[in-house]
Every structure is written in structure tokens, then in C-alpha cells.
């Protein structure tokens, strides 16, 4: 299948690649299908999510464990049900990255992780009740601290 996207030009994808968000993303409730795009040259921390419904809409997402090795939360029962999650190894967690003009100031939303069932490709953005994780966790902070 083909989609003419704003940022990636014409994108060819398989229907099986699509991630299905039954409730959409918060703020984009109507956008229920996203195409994950990996950078073949990347180190595997960041990837894009391109909306299959809106060619102009895309996000950068990342593996949250990279910025916080001990990141953990309990997946709400309702989400486990919605995603029909049965095994921990079928679960993938991504977090939405916000990219300001100065890349060093980019932040990642650890308060609302995306939980994916990799078997069924269904996904939910979970809002954590626990306030210990920030909506704007700096990605490059330890680099800045060190430098």
C-alpha cells in the first residue's frame, strides 16, 4: 500500500505493518492507524510513527528505557484487556518524543507511554496516574550534565 506523506514522501507499507490504536492518540482520537518507520541506519532507539489517516501527521517515538533504565509501570487491567496482552514478551513500550528547534532540548513523555501488543499490532497510549514520571523528561539531560 502507498501513502503520500508530508515528511517521508511516498511511503510504501504492508497492511500487516500497521499499528492499530483503537482509541487513537490523545489529542488525535480519530487517528487510529500508524505506520512505524525504522531508520535502517539508526541505532534502534528512535523511530517514527506516521499516521495512515493523515499524511501530514507524524511523531518521533523512542524506547523509554534508554532514558531511564528502571522505568516501570503497571499496565492497567483495562489496557491488558483491550490489547489482549497475554505474555510479557509480546509487549513493547514506546514513548512520544517532542522535538524543539534545539535538538538538545528534546523531551520524552514518560507519563503517557504507548503500550503495544507486538503479536496483534494493537496499541494504546496509557495515562499513568502515578505522578513520578514527567510529561517532559529531558532526553539529553545526562549528556548536558556530563558536558
Amino acid at each position: 500500500m502507498k501513502l503520500n506523506t508530508r515528511f517521508f514522501g511516498e511511503l510504501e507499507y504492508e497492511k500487516e505493518d500497521l499499528l492499530h490504536f483503537p482509541s487513537g492518540l490523545l489529542g488525535f482520537e480519530g487517528c487510529k492507524e500508524f505506520i512505524p518507520i525504522d531508520n535502517p541506519d539508526g541505532v534502534g532507539v528512535f523511530r517514527w510513527l506516521q499516521s495512515a489517516d493523515r499524511p501530514e501527521l507524524a511523531f518521533v517515538v523512542m524506547n523509554p528505557f534508554f532514558v531511564m533504565a528502571d522505568y516501570e509501570f503497571e499496565i492497567p487491567e483495562g489496557v491488558v484487556e483491550t490489547l489482549r496482552l497475554k505474555r510479557p514478551e509480546d509487549t513493547q513500550v514506546l514513548a512520544v518524543v517532542k522535538i524543539p528547534d534545539d535538538l538538545k532540548k528534546m523531551t520524552v513523555n514518560l507519563r503517557a507511554p504507548i503500550v503495544i501488543n507486538t503479536k496483534t499490532k494493537s496499541a494504546v497510549q496509557v495515562v499513568l496516574e502515578d505522578e513520578k514520571y514527567s510529561l517532559k523528561h529531558p532526553v539529553a539531560s545526562s549528556m548536558q550534565d556530563a558536558g
Binding site: 517514527w48 511523531f59 483495562g78 517532542k98 522535538i99 495515562v127
Partner: protein
């Protein structure tokens, strides 16, 4: 907007399976108990709204090179190891 008056320990029902009970009222604060099916998400409105806003700001508005992002990360790794 429908407006109902309830006292402590009184409830309202929404649809067939959502019940909201006034558990306590004191000094301008209302404590609510909510029973709903597991697939109904319930959040304080402020956090829900904040995350909607955060997502809207996260939608990319220009070409973003993953390579550039990786470079930042690589810098981080090197410095952490060093």
C-alpha cells in the same frame, strides 16, 4: 451540561455500567468513587488535557533526522561510559 445535586453517599449512574458516588465532601473538595468497566479509561481532566496538548506539540512540523537524534544519544553513551 446536565447538572445534578447529590449529597454524601449518593450516586449517579451513567449508561448501564458506570456509577459515580460522592464519597466525601469537605472544605471545597469532593471525593468521588467511580465504578466502571475495565476498558473505560478514567483520568483527572487536567492530566488528560495536558497529554493531549503534549501530543499536539510532539507532532513533527519539519523533517527530523533520526540520524541527528542518534548522534545526540551516541554522545550521551560515550560520555556516560567515560
Amino acid at each position: 451540561m446536565l447538572i445534578l445535586t447529590r449529597k454524601k453517599d449518593e450516586s449517579i449512574v451513567i449508561g448501564n455500567d458506570i456509577v459515580i458516588k460522592v464519597v466525601d465532601v469537605e472544605e471545597g473538595r469532593v471525593k468521588l468513587g467511580i465504578s466502571a468497566p475495565g476498558d473505560v479509561s478514567i483520568h483527572r481532566y487536567e492530566i488528560y488535557e495536558a497529554i493531549q496538548q503534549e501530543n499536539k506539540e510532539a507532532a513533527i512540523n519539519r523533517q527530523v533526522s533520526i540520524k541527528d537524534l542518534d548522534t545526540l544519544i551516541k554522545g550521551k553513551k560515550t560520555k556516560e561510559q567515560g
